[in-house]
């Protein structure tokens, strides 16, 4: 479904990402781990056509992301606060994002209703603008907005960050449920090895921009990862 060919990106002479080939199959949740500067965010940004690749290409369903825009209809994403419009209230933000994804007002209401448990009553109806929300609630808002419009692929960069423990386990459940019931493929990066081993079917370890390990998640995956990152 996603095919990366000969992808390279460097900043002032230093290669930050170099992936000769990588394909991600439909229905297989894909986890990305690696230390700071390993190239996780760079890879996601290239995938979303937010930065220009020096070389190579990313294809989603056979379309080069830098040359076409159709793939945007199949993909939802939340990388960081650069995706939030901070002077809107969460309701207005969901409405705007929903409309860009072609949802009707009724669709949006139904969607928000389904997210109530994840929001834990802290996002909607509080008469606050997004900029007045806590980091955790901003994170919830961004993740939820990415999930709008039934995308086939969901790209989340460190989604567990700043979430409280309860919401973290709710997010784990939400990801699993969405994968099972709607057939969504998640692409998730995280520093949290426990969570990523729990929700992903395949985990790629990046080291200095290159694929260091490519693991199909099994019983001993967590131990393998812990051993890899242990010093």
């Amino acid at each position: 479904m996603i095919q990366i060919n000969d992808l390279k990106k460097s900043y002032s002479g230093t290669t930050v990402l170099n992936i000769p080939t990588l394909s991600i199959e439909k229905g297989v949740n894909f986890g990305l781990v690696g230390n700071n500067g390993a190239g996780k965010t760079t890879m996601f940004r290239l995938l979303l056509d937010l930065i220009r690749a020096d070389q190579g290409e990313v294809n989603i369903n056979g379309e080069n992301v830098a040359k076409s825009e159709n793939w945007k209809h199949q993909l939802g994403s939340y990388l960081d606060q650069g995706f939030l419009i901070d002077f809107l209230s969460p309701e207005e933000y969901f409405n705007f994002v929903g409309k860009t994804k072609g949802m009707s007002t009724g669709d949006i209401e139904a969607f928000l209703e389904s997210m109530q448990e994840f929001f834990n009553g802290e996002v909607l109806g509080r008469k606050k603008l997004i900029r007045n929300l806590s980091m955790g609630n901003q994170q919830k808002t961004g993740i939820a907005a990415a999930m709008m419009g039934d995308p086939e692929i969901l790209v989340l960069d460190e989604p567990f960050n700043s979430l409280d423990p309860t919401t973290q386990s709710r997010l784990v459940k939400l990801i699993k449920k969405t994968q099972e019931t709607k057939g969504v493929t998640f692409l998730i990066s995280s520093h949290d090895l426990n969570h990523i081993a729990e929700v992903c079917d395949r985990i790629v370890v990046l080291h200095e921009g290159e694929v260091a390990q490519d693991i199909i998640t099994g019983q001993d995956t967590l131990e393998t990862l812990k051993a890899y990152f242990a010093v």
Binding site: L48, D49, L50, I51, R52, E69, K72, H73, S77, L79, D80, Q81, G82, F83, L84, I85, D86, F87, L88, S89, E92, F96, V97, K99, T100, K101, G102, K127, K128, L129, R131, N132
Partner: protein, 493 residues
């Protein structure tokens, strides 16, 4: 030394921003303009110093210069008020370290002392002090006089800083300041009192009774203190205002949503303008620019068919859209990644911006209709310039908007955040204002100014007809530049 550390950080911040590195040409242009201005100031100061006594009557060489100084300060005040960049230091970075608040504030304030306008004053007054005042009154008096006027200058400097900081929270000050200056001018005009003579009288008294020069020193210290107290207070308010919830305004425009994606984008821009301090202050300034005509229309000395009236017309309906469109993308810099990764078609996005711009011009044109009172020709000029603004100025401004790669920080309700406000904006703006005058001038020279006005209006209409082509052009340029813009926007200040 802490101060050196701060200065070091400031220089690094400026040098390492993408704006500095990537638009070297613009920086060179700015430095060039600054250099020219300084050279002109030096020339003028030497001219004043060496031949002032030949320009005015023998008996009142100094008094007449003092009167000139009086108006210089008023002018300097106004120019500073609109152009001067406020000293800023990102306090947040330093707040958690064991640095005294007072040190931070003093550093910020003293940094504000070293600016272009103060330098100009120093250049203008120094030669005069020693050449003319030294000649008539002696060198000691020259020193005292120079110190006196420079303290006046600094008083104005800090007064402007204080007022501008107030303005962010309280826009009544703008009208108060303008009212005060209006009163000054009007009073002298109607002969109630002569401000410049009063001022000159004070300076003369200061020269005779040296103790009086303490007055400018004291006013300076007073204004500095007011600034200091104000900022000290704000450091606390800062924390309070974070907890305060902003009110959601702009929901009344909900009907725009009926117009599909374009309506959504327009609605988003309206909310952006109403909910952010920075954009709100532009909206508050807008009526002042609408009233710009009042300064020129009643005055018979400005010829009605002159190029100047065209400039006024462009300004009346163009000020707001120039600001809006030039920063159309930079305003959205904080969520640019969302915009370019969203499914919003670029063409609709560009069209929405232009439609909003057009609507603003139409509204300004309607609001300016009462100028008909000053004659039909005014109305014709304003209509022609409004068409020009819609048809040409709007797409040109939006095209160049993609070269603003610095995200405007709109939402930080911070009294210490004045990022991106400077005279540079006008440097880009001026050519846009000059274009209609360039179109008009040849017709004026060949004695057919009416036709010139018609051609301006016609070129605007042509621009409106060609709008689809402009949209395509802007869209392609945006597509080309989106990565560079995204990179610049990600760099948070």
């Amino acid at each position: 030394m802490l101060a050196f550390q701060f200065i070091n950080h400031q220089i690094k911040q400026a040098r390492r921003s993408t704006i500095w590195q990537k638009s070297l040409a613009l920086n060179i242009l700015l430095i060039f303009v600054a250099f020219i201005l300084l050279a002109e100031a030096v020339g003028l100061s030497l001219l004043l110093a060496f031949s002032w006594h030949e320009i005015v009557k023998e008996s009142e060489v100094l008094t007449s210069f003092y009167q000139l100084t009086a108006w210089y300060f008023v002018g300097s005040f106004v120019i500073r008020f609109f152009m001067q960049q406020l000293p800023a230091l990102e306090i947040r970075h330093y707040q958690s370290f064991p640095i005294k608040k007072s040190t931070l504030i003093h550093f910020m304030l003293i940094k504000g002392k070293f600016n272009f306008f103060t330098l100009i004053s120093l250049i203008l007054f120094t030669p005069f002090a020693f050449k003319q005042i030294g000649y008539y009154e002696g060198t000691t008096a020259a020193w005292i006089w120079l110190a006196g006027v420079m303290f006046f200058d600094l008083t104005i400097n800090y007064l402007v800083i204080w007022l501008k900081k107030l303005m962010v929270t309280n826009l009544k000050t703008v009208s108060l300041v303008l009212g005060f200056i209006g009163l000054l001018v009007l009073g002298e005009y109607l002969g109630w009192y002569v401000y410049s003579e009063l001022f000159a009288g004070f300076i003369t008294a200061m020269m005779e009774n040296k103790i009086l020069w303490l007055i400018p020193l004291i006013t300076f210290m007073l204004v500095y203190l007011i600034n200091y107290r104000f900022l000290l207070d704000k450091l606390y308010l800062e924390e309070l205002s974070k907890a305060k919830t902003d009110k959601a305004t702009g929901s009344r425009f909900g009907y725009l949503q009926r117009y599909g994606m374009i309506g959504e984008i327009m609605l988003l821009d309206i909310k952006l303008y109403l909910r952010n301090k920075r954009t709100k202050s532009i909206l508050f300034l807008a009526p002042i620019f609408l009233a710009y005509g009042l300064i020129f229309y009643p005055n018979e000395t400005y010829s009605r068919d002159g190029g100047f009236m065209i400039f006024v017309g462009i300004f009346i309906s163009g000020f707001l859209i120039l600001n809006y469109l030039q920063y159309a993308f930079a305003n959205e810099g904080s969520y640019w990644d969302l915009i370019i990764s969203s499914r919003i078609p670029k063409r609709q996005y560009v069209r929405a911006k232009l439609i909003t711009g057009t609507a603003v011009v139409v509204i300004s044109w309607f609001l300016a209709l009462p100028y008909l009172y000053f004659g039909q020709s005014i109305l014709i000029i304003n209509t022609a310039t409004a068409l020009f603004n819609m048809g040409l100025l709007a797409p040109i401004a939006l095209y160049f908007a993609s070269y603003n790669k610095k995200a405007l920080v709109l939402s930080k309700g911070s009294a210490f955040n004045y990022q991106g406000t400077s005279g540079m904006h006008w440097l880009i703006t001026l050519p846009a204002f000059a274009l209609p005058i360039l179109i008009y001038m040849p017709f004026k020279w060949f004695d057919n100014p009416e036709l010139g006005v018609l051609v301006i209006g016609a070129s605007g209409l042509l621009g409106l007809l060609l709008r689809p082509a402009f949209v395509k052009l802007i869209e392609n340029n945006l597509e080309d530049r989106k990565y560079q813009m995204a990179e610049g926007f990600r760099e948070k200040n």
